[in-house]
């Protein structure tokens, strides 16, 4: 009934689903179409029609060669047009249905259309022009630690080790970064952060691979351990001697010559500190390596079917050890972003749950590097939007705005992503 070679267990499920599938697909298509139409209707009724007819919307994009880049558009007309666009997308989805590949793009276009219409409204009703560049810059700044955390998750989980300990790895990275950064220098701090993250990775690896501890359990426990240890040492050493032990120099901004001069894109992407550039490099390297190199093939083989991988001579445990250590180091770098990249000091629980959000981004992004980056960016954007709105539109209670990133994640996960499939051997210890 299904292709030969799938496991018996999965076979059963597919057989069960096959009866309902066609019906369900139609329902799903119509449901999604209705969601598009609803979003379009909201855009028109609650956004476009709320913009006064003659008002101009001003969206600023920073500077280009010392000239201010402002986009001034008739807000209502633009928002109406965008609303109609979204409804048209919905109509297409209702009648024909987007394919598996085009649907995410359609959703993305609808989302952007809605956001632009919304920002037109904000610029008219809010207290200031909407600074699009600042919004996007903030999005990226907020997304970088999430990206690094999620990449750490990709490295571990693609090789079959669940990493719930991202938070703990980030926290210990943040701590070590601040400490060594104050003692020796910020760049050494970065190295120390990666090492500290990797050390947490060693704990994760040894206990999960050698002692076969349940990995979800282990991750939770390691998070508590990292929280306790960093808090303990912070209280015992760093806080009493803050001047010598907890004052790392914040990493300086490095402008990439040439590229940083490009309008909009330059200040957005190429005027940042080294952690951000490292994140770019890691995104590309991990994505290419995972799907195009021998290491990646082995990693995925070990994560999907360790026995088969072992049979062809791949050293399963070694691959897992290596990947978990690498993942820990990457997460540690993400943690350093908090202490060395922005705040310039460690404080208790400074990562404040970012590791868990990175974990959510990893699952949301379906365990692929680019998916995880997309999810992190979405989350970063929602957080940045929330910050901007709480300044520009004081009439919405800021506490409701604070929910925005989390609500957005729930809607995205429940509405767009649905059931995800982890690497088949994720979380299962391998015993020969």
């Amino acid at each position: 009934m299904t292709s030969a070679g799938t496991a018996v267990r999965e076979d059963d499920v597919v057989v069960q689903h096959e009866v309902v599938d066609s019906n369900r697909q139609v329902r799903q298509r119509l449901g999604r179409g209705a969601a598009f139409v609803l979003l379009g209707a909201i855009t028109i009724v609650f956004v476009a029609l709320k913009i006064p007819g003659g008002a101009d919307s001003r969206l600023t994009f920073g500077k280009a060669f010392s000239a201010q880049l402002d986009l001034v558009v008739p807000g209502r007309t633009v928002a109406l047009a965008l609303g109609v666009l979204v409804i048209l997308l919905g109509a297409w989805q209702l009648v024909r249905g987007f394919g598996r590949r085009t649907l995410p793009w359609a959703a993305f276009v609808a989302f952007v259309a809605f956001m632009v219409a919304f920002l037109c409204w904000v610029s008219v009703r809010g207290t200031a022009a909407v600074d699009i560049l600042g919004l996007l810059q903030n999005s990226i700044a907020l997304a970088v630690p999430l990206v690094l955390g999620a990449l750490a998750g990709v490295l571990c989980e693609r090789s079959g080790v669940i990493n719930v300990a991202i938070e703990g790895q980030m926290l210990s990275g943040a701590w070590a970064g601040a400490l060594i950064g104050s003692l020796v220098g910020s760049y050494f701090g970065l190295v120390a952060a990666a090492v500290a993250g990797a050390l947490m990775g060693v704990l994760l690896a040894v206990f999960s691979i050698k002692y076969l501890v349940n990995q979800v359990v282990l991750g939770v426990v390691l998070n508590v351990l990292a929280l306790g240890l960093t808090g303990f040492f912070y209280d015992a050493f760093m806080q009493p001697n803050a001047a010598t032990l907890n004052q790392p120099a914040v990493l300086g901004e490095i402008d990439i010559p040439g590229l940083s001069q490009i309008p909009v894109i330059g200040p957005l992407l190429f005027q940042a500190n080294i952690v951000v550039y490292l994140a770019y490099v890691l995104i590309i390297v991990i994505d290419v390596a995972l799907f195009r190199t021998r290491w990646g093939l082995r990693t995925r083989a070990v994560g999907e079917h360790p026995k088969a991988a072992d049979t062809v001579g791949i050293r399963v445990l070694r691959v897992r050890y290596r990947n978990v250590l690498l993942g820990g180091a990457v997460a540690g770098l993400g943690g350093a972003y908090f202490t060395l990249g922005s705040v310039g000091a460690f404080s208790k629980n400074i990562t404040s749950g970012n590791g868990f959000i990175a974990l959510a981004a990893l699952i949301f992004g379906r365990w692929s590097p680019l998916g995880a980056v997309g999810a992190s960016l979405l989350f970063g954007f929602a957080s940045a939007l929330q910050i901007m709105l709480s300044i520009n539109v004081p009439l919405i209670p800021s506490n409701f705005l604070a929910m925005l990133p989390y609500l957005a994640t729930i809607f995205a996960v429940a509405g767009l992503v649905g059931k995800v499939r982890a690497p088949a051997a994720d979380g299962e210890p391998y015993v020969k």
Partner: protein, 415 residues
Amino acid sequence: MTQATSEAAAAASEPVPPAGEHEPPRRASAWNTILVTLLAFVTAMAIGAVLIAISDQATRSAASYFFSWPWDTFTNAGHAIANAYTALFEGAIFNPTTAANGTLAGYLGPISETLTNATPLILGGLSVGLAFRAGLFNIGGQGQIIMGAVFAGYVGFHWHMPAGLHVLAGIAAGMLGGALWGGLSGWLKAHTGAHEVITTIMLNYIAYSLLAYLLSVKGFQAPPYGQAISNPVEPNAMLFPLFGSSMRVNAGLFIALIAAAAVWWLLKYSTLGFRLRAVGANQFAARTAGMSVERSYTTVMVLAGLLCGLAGVTQILGVNTQITNDIDAGIGFDAITVALLGRANPVGIVFAGLLFGALHAGGSQMQTYTPIDLVQVIQSLIVLFIAAPAVIRAIFRMKASGAGVGAELAKGWNG
């Protein structure tokens, strides 16, 4: 590499249930389980002692001339460790200084604190443990506790009712609040496939923001509206204190014990409990046997939320009278370690809750000597060691026996 493989082989010869299959925890090794737990506790305390010594200023200064006169380092370290652990004991079990006053509170005060701290931990632990048994990972304790406290608190200060009824109404409201919040994650998983780890984490933040909003709304916020604190709960709605008003331990402890008994009965004797365990053990087999896996997800998350809601109830109607931002007091996450230490088994969870309650109660006393975060370190080390009994057995050269905690609990992301 060779060592790793031999270890792995040694572990494989033990009855570790391979993932994907399910075996109930073995009864025969009960004694061994207790021994491993005890030794894990001792080892964790020993590592904690090293940390105390490191954090002690006098010890560190003495260590600078360690090689010319090592004795000072050891005496100083010994003093620091003894001071800290004595304070821990005095805060959690018995304090001779206060007992010398001869008052009841002097004798029972520390025990009262331990029980007070244990109450929400037991309830939260039951919540996480129950979800574990159905194969779900409930990290949403924080949000569910907040919602439970908000509902219970609202009934507590906004409604006016006679004494007995008011408490019951508050408890019921808290259960409802937690159940709604937990059930939402379960429902989302059942109907859209959204992973409960994501939704419960996100709902934690949403509940936190919702509470922050409520604490800025008149009618909820206490006058004169300067602080983020709610109106005080009416005395009618408070859970009655067990040892008189001088001590904090209250009827919430009974709620926790009743809940533990209820969960024990549910898992052991009820049809629903059987269904939940079946889904947790192997959802594909459960589906084949005609059980509705989706409905089980919703049900178990409603129940888990309800239990966390009760933890919120004991927080607001038991110890605090006013809701603040940190009404959850980190219990949602501590509950996970409680559930793990208790091996997702109601009886074990009660004892685990008592142990961690004692650590928390003693930790605040210990603060004078060493940072309170040590409690968290010890807590996590205990769970780490009981999760990997092989480590403890290697240290103490014990014979091999049953699998570690969690081996029978939540598996991977794919259920």
